[in-house]
């Protein structure tokens, strides 16, 4: 190949004439190679796969959203699949008005935010203690944390009901309440705490469990945070100690700011799991407990909560909204074809309303979750 020919030369620019292959040849070389075809095929395959799996994940929500705009006749009409013939927002309307949606949302928000905050703090303390301090019994406590992670919550249903439902004088916490004089209930036993018109007794077990690091999946949080803190270099704390910091000041001023991504992850988990939790709500807020002390409540029987929550039975079964809609379509007790599907659709609409605030928050925060886990040090 000859040396490049200089076509034009000025003070600042130089144009050189290369001997290059024609455009067609170059394109052919680039796009007709096996490698390129393979690459394109792979990318198409990948895109289809990701879209497909995303569809599988989103399908229940898509179908629920589609169902939520249908009216009852749509369910009797076999030709209606996704798009309603006479779209309506009555399902949303009645769930919001009849099931006290906004009040339930506010209550749930307050409950979730406060317990999540407490759980995050307590789990961080415990995780930090387990990660950075050597003391007798540390391994035993860590083993217990792992065990709490592995026991299903249902195993504690019966003892929890017995412990938390019957805070009468025989129980430690009942005695404590008695001593504090917070027994304002007219129900036999010391089981009610009035706040305005609300009976908020059920809050006590939530906070008792959160404050001691035994809330829902708190073992997992302690484990995650312990792994994270183990990865923090000791020199940081040592220099803080040298400067005269106490352990707790070091924790709050040095360690906590470092751990913010992980703490946010834990907070999001704790918050959203409390938001949708029905096990503890089920266990702590049953009506028969308040009204009759006669027997363990029937799981199918839900009550009008004095403290409405999103994960209460009102939302799970459609509740009063389903009753009102049933009256509108004069369903009463007779169940026509399609009524079960319509009832499911009402529950589905409840699901949308329950999940909506979470999804909105999730869209903004999902990056933080991934970051937190990536930095958690689970990976070693």
């Amino acid at each position: 190949m000859d040396a490049p020919k200089i076509k034009k030369e000025s003070k600042n620019k130089i144009r050189v004439d290369f001997e290059r292959a024609p455009l067609w040849e170059r394109l052919k070389g680039k796009y007709f190679s096996m490698r390129f075809v393979k690459n394109v095929l792979y990318k198409i395959f990948r895109l289809i796969l990701l879209l497909g799996v995303s569809f599988v994940i989103l399908y229940p929500y898509i179908s629920k959203i589609a169902d939520s705009f249908k009216s009852f006749p749509d369910f009797q009409d076999i030709t209606v699949v996704y798009i309603s013939r006479n779209p309506t927002i009555e399902q949303y309307k009645y769930i919001i008005t009849e099931n006290q949606y906004f009040r339930a949302m506010l209550n749930t928000f307050l409950l979730s935010a406060s317990t999540a905050l407490i759980q995050t703090l307590i789990c961080a303390l415990v995780g930090y203690g387990l990660a950075k301090f050597k003391f007798k019994g540390r391994n035993i406590i860590f083993a217990i944390v792992i065990v709490t992670m592995m026991l299903p919550q249902d195993i504690l249903r019966l003892p929890m009901q017995n412990m938390f439902w019957r805070f009468d004088d025989q129980h430690l916490i009942g005695k404590l309440l008695d001593a504090l004089g917070v027994t304002t209930s007219t129900i036999p036993g010391k089981m009610g705490i009035q706040l305005g018109s609300m009976n908020i007794f059920g809050l006590i077990p939530h906070f008792a469990l959160s404050l001691t690091g035994f809330g829902f999946r708190n073992g997992l949080f302690i484990f995650l945070l312990r792994q994270f803190f183990t990865g923090v270099p000791d020199e940081l704390e040592e220099s803080a100690y040298m400067d005269g910091c106490t352990t707790f000041r070091t924790f709050f001023q040095i360690i906590i700011p470092l751990a913010v991504p992980m703490l946010i992850t834990v907070f999001i988990f704790a918050f959203s799991w409390q938001w949708t939790d029905d096990f503890y709500i089920n266990t702590f807020w049953m009506e028969s407990y308040w009204t009759s002390n006669l027997s363990l409540p029937d799981n199918a029987k839900w009550f009008e909560y004095s403290f409405p929550l999103l994960s209460s039975g009102n939302f799970a079964g459609g509740g009063s909204a389903a009753n009102v809609l049933g009256t509108i379509y004069s369903q009463g007790n007779t169940k026509d074809t399609g009524w079960d599907m319509y009832a499911n659709a009402i529950s589905g609409t409840s699901t949308i309303l329950i999940a909506l605030p979470l999804i909105i928050a999730f869209i903004f925060l999902q990056n933080k979750i991934v970051q937190g886990i990536e930095r958690s040090g689970i990976v070693g």
């Binding site: 799996v53 387990l130 050597k134 599907m341």
Partner: protein, 355 residues
């Protein structure tokens, strides 16, 4: 008499009367102080353990050997010996079947979830347009497929089964969750009829395909753990593989898989525990819905002493202590399974040596 600074009392003529030892202050060594701080930090947990969790676990285990009778104002425990356990194995019509089915499903679904989440993690780890959006969607079920939403979906799936006349034996662990049957068994049969495989394999395959939503929705956390594991592998290793001319296939088997193997162990155990602690699980559903129902009545009585009258009466075993008993049996079996799985997998796990 004058006292000088070093705790020595001297008389006026200068003779030393006596020495006083310096006053001892409570001074802990650094190690002791750190141990104390450690205890203070874990104190909330210890208090909870003693006041709440310990008694709860104790009462839960106690319920295995007692019949728990809840009467107005109090809870009575009557000793029942091994009657509860005997009932669970000998007289519960569905417990053994549901256990066997539950374990079968675990054995199928856990590998499926692990393989799926590893595969998706590898894909989501590659650079592409919309990666953040896909990651967000894939992670969505972790937040949403739980608690009340899961309950509503399960109930809807069960009632749809009733509506469509599908046979539901109430024992299909993990299989009911989303309840979105994209492909029916028939389609798959048509697809696979020319393939020479046994009917049982066909059932497994069709279960997996029809319940793809369950596999996908339970893979969120596992995917995250794999993702972070993949990101911790040094790119230099892949680079040297490329230079040495290894194909992507070889790189996967020789580099990615060994490096990710500790994550596979963690994920297997996580998946096992997640599957068996979830309330949608068939065994747990059986335990809490099926005991004492019309189709599965409790007929066994034990003699107890009525505290009111002092007479010995025959009392039926109580549903709540029976369900707690069956839960504990299930927990013990799962614990054994977890130990076996972790021992088996430890043989294959590769730990990179740290400096």
């Amino acid at each position: 008499m004058a006292k000088n600074k070093d705790f020595t009392t001297v008389s006026q003529d200068g003779t030393v009367l006596y020495h006083m030892a310096p006053k001892k202050t409570m001074k802990l060594s650094l190690t002791q102080r750190k141990a104390l701080s450690g205890w203070l930090l874990v104190l909330p947990f210890v208090i909870g353990l003693i006041l709440l969790y310990g008694p709860l676990i104790f009462n839960s285990i106690k319920a295995v050997f007692y019949t728990v009778d809840v009467v107005p104002g109090e809870v009575r425990y009557y000793f029942a010996g091994f009657e509860n356990i005997r009932w669970a194995f000998m007289e519960d019509l569905y417990f053994k079947t549901s256990l066997i089915n539950g374990f079968k499903d675990l054995l199928i679904q856990v590998p499926a979830i692990i393989i799926f989440s590893l595969f998706m993690a590898i894909i989501l780890n590659q650079k592409m347009v919309g990666r953040a959006a896909f990651r967000a969607i894939f992670f969505l079920p972790v937040i949403l497929s739980i608690g009340i939403i899961d309950t509503i979906d399960t109930n809807a799936a069960l009632s749809m089964d009733v509506i469509t006349g599908a046979i539901n034996d109430g024992t299909d662990a993990m299989m009911e969750g989303g309840g979105n049957n994209f492909i029916s068994m028939m389609d798959l049969n048509v697809l696979l009829q020319n393939v020479q495989v046994g009917a049982s394999f066909l059932r497994v395959a069709s279960d997996l395909v029809t319940n793809i939503f369950d596999v996908v929705s339970r893979s969120g956390v596992q995917m995250l753990i794999f993702l972070s594991g993949l990101q911790s592998i040094s790119p230099a290793i892949y680079e040297s593989c490329q230079i040495d001319g290894a194909s992507a296939w070889e790189t996967f088997w020789k580099v990615t898989l060994p490096m990710i193997s500790p994550m596979i162990l963690v994920n297997s155990i996580y998946t096992l525990i997640d599957a068996f602690t979830s309330s949608g699980n068939g065994v747990i559903r059986h335990i809490f819905n099926n005991i004492g129902s019309a189709s599965n009545p409790i007929n066994t009585t034990i003699p107890v002493k009525d505290p009111a009258t002092g007479e010995t009466i025959n009392m039926l075993l109580k549903e709540n202590s029976l369900s707690t008993t069956e839960m504990w049996i299930y927990v013990v079996l799962i614990a054994i399974l977890v130990v076996i799985v972790s021992l088996l997998m430890k043989a294959f796990v590769f730990y990179q040596k740290r400096d």
